[in-house]
């Protein structure tokens, strides 16, 4: 059933980009800025295991062929659950497929592989107990850029992170919103 959810997400994203791509396009800028590398920074929320964590997200993308870019994604999420403080730092890399650039609305889909390190600490009667663990995983998701200027866009991002560790498989949704800056050639 969970594999179905992941496949459903991938299928939905596989439909999204062509649908958006079917919309009329603006004429591409002669400078090709729309295809340049970009960076993103913003707020991020994830439901990791049973805990809701808030934090930040950073990402960079570098185009290598047509609508495809290499992507590096770094995020940090923090919160508490059952009296323990949780911190999760994740780094993933992969490929992004973006609908033809140049439109005010530009959706994209991406698939990432990487790892997440979760640190847990609890203070009891003057004693601090800490634990840290690294889990491998993948991220499937997509987003939408809304261009607000020549180089700036507002971006919304949704990922489903699948993490394997401690004999369990977690499927953690993640939502990010922030600003993206695209570099020109």
């Amino acid at each position: 059933m969970r594999a179905g959810r992941v496949l459903g997400l991938a299928a939905a994203l596989g439909l999204i980009v062509p649908l958006a791509d079917a919309a009329p396009r603006r004429a591409a800028s002669a400078t090709g800025r729309e295809r340049g590398p970009d960076v993103f920074a913003g707020y991020s929320y994830t439901h990791a295991g049973e805990a809701g964590l808030n934090g930040w997200g950073l990402a960079g993308a570098y185009p290598f062929r047509g609508d495809l870019s290499f992507v590096a994604d770094l995020s940090g999420h923090y919160g508490s659950f059952a009296g323990a403080d949780l911190a999760q730092l994740a780094f993933m890399g992969g490929v992004r497929w973006r609908a033809r650039a140049g439109q005010r609305l530009s959706p994209f889909a991406e698939g990432l592989l990487g790892a997440a390190r979760t640190s847990t600490s609890v203070a009891v009667a003057g004693t601090s107990i800490e634990d840290a663990d690294t889990d491998w995983g993948l991220g499937l998701g997509g987003g939408l850029d809304y261009r607000i200027g020549e180089r700036w866009s507002v971006r919304g991002l949704v990922h489903l992170r699948v993490l394997w560790g401690e004999g369990a498989t977690d499927e953690d949704p993640r939502f990010s919103v922030g600003a993206a800056y695209r570099f020109g050639r």
Partner: protein, 250 residues
């Protein structure tokens, strides 16, 4: 056209969000109505104590840990980040059974009122369960009974809150014992089945395991310092679930 693409995208995105967030997660038990909620964290490999001495042990990685309420079908799988949640537990006294790959490694007895939230932090060390902390956060308190000096035999004792007691053991063993305690007007029953034992002062032992074994054989008359949670208290008795027992003198 752009509007259509945007609406299409928004609709699909909403479906993805609902699909990702909704449905039954691996650690959701059978849905219950009201009752008690237990939230917990399981610490495992790499857990280190600071500002405290003790053996450094590591739990085996990649072992599935599950938590079940004894006598019910309410079970939760501990997630990759160590968190778990159990809902719909009947109020009263219940036992949480912790299992690694289906093998029981320990259990914790909890007493909680309807609408309470129980927070548990445990550590798995070499397939042994160690209780770090348990807190019971009750619902809005019911009107207090008329003040009575015998309402709880432990002075300032509050059910569901942490407590530290010092006194002498009357009887029992390393799993459960009865003790007199300073500030208590009656005997206190201590559930130490998941507690960490430390022998200090005149009762120093080579290892904590040796300390626990020695205590198990001759608990009576030992002077102890207990740190745990007050699970129940009346005018005649009290019971505590211990996270740590320090044996000071036999």
């Amino acid at each position: 056209m752009n509007r259509r693409a945007l609406l299409t995208w928004a609709a699909v995105l909403a479906a993805v969000v609902v699909g990702a967030c909704g449905g039954e997660s691996p650690s959701s038990p059978s849905a219950g109505t009201g009752g008690v909620v237990v939230q917990g964290v399981v610490l495992g490999e790499g857990a280190a104590f600071t500002a405290s001495s003790g053996p450094a042990v590591a739990a085996a990685k990649n072992q599935k840990v599950t938590v079940q309420v004894e006598g019910t079908s309410i079970v939760a799988e501990v997630s990759a980040n160590g968190t778990f949640e159990l809902k719909g537990i009947a109020a009263g006294t219940f036992t949480l059974i912790f299992m690694v790959d289906g093998v029981e490694i320990g259990r914790i007895v909890v007493t909680a009122e309807d609408g309470s939230e129980v927070k548990v932090v445990v550590q798995v060390q070499n397939s042994v369960l160690v209780l770090i902390e348990v807190k019971v956060e009750g619902p809005e308190p019911s009107p207090a009974p008329s003040a009575s000096p015998t309402a709880c035999i432990v002075n300032s004792g509050r059910v569901g809150q942490g407590i530290e007691l010092e006194g002498n053991v009357l009887s029992g063993n390393a799993s459960s014992f009865t003790m007199t305690a300073a500030g208590a007007t009656g005997p206190v029953t201590v559930d130490a089945s998941a507690a960490a034992f430390r022998c200090i002062g005149g009762a120093k032992a080579e290892t904590d395991a040796a300390c626990k074994a020695a205590f198990d054989k001759a608990a009576a008359d030992s002077k102890v310092h207990v740190r745990g949670t007050l699970m129940g208290c009346t005018g005649q008795s009290a019971n505590v679930t211990a996270a740590e027992v320090k044996v000071q003198k036999n």
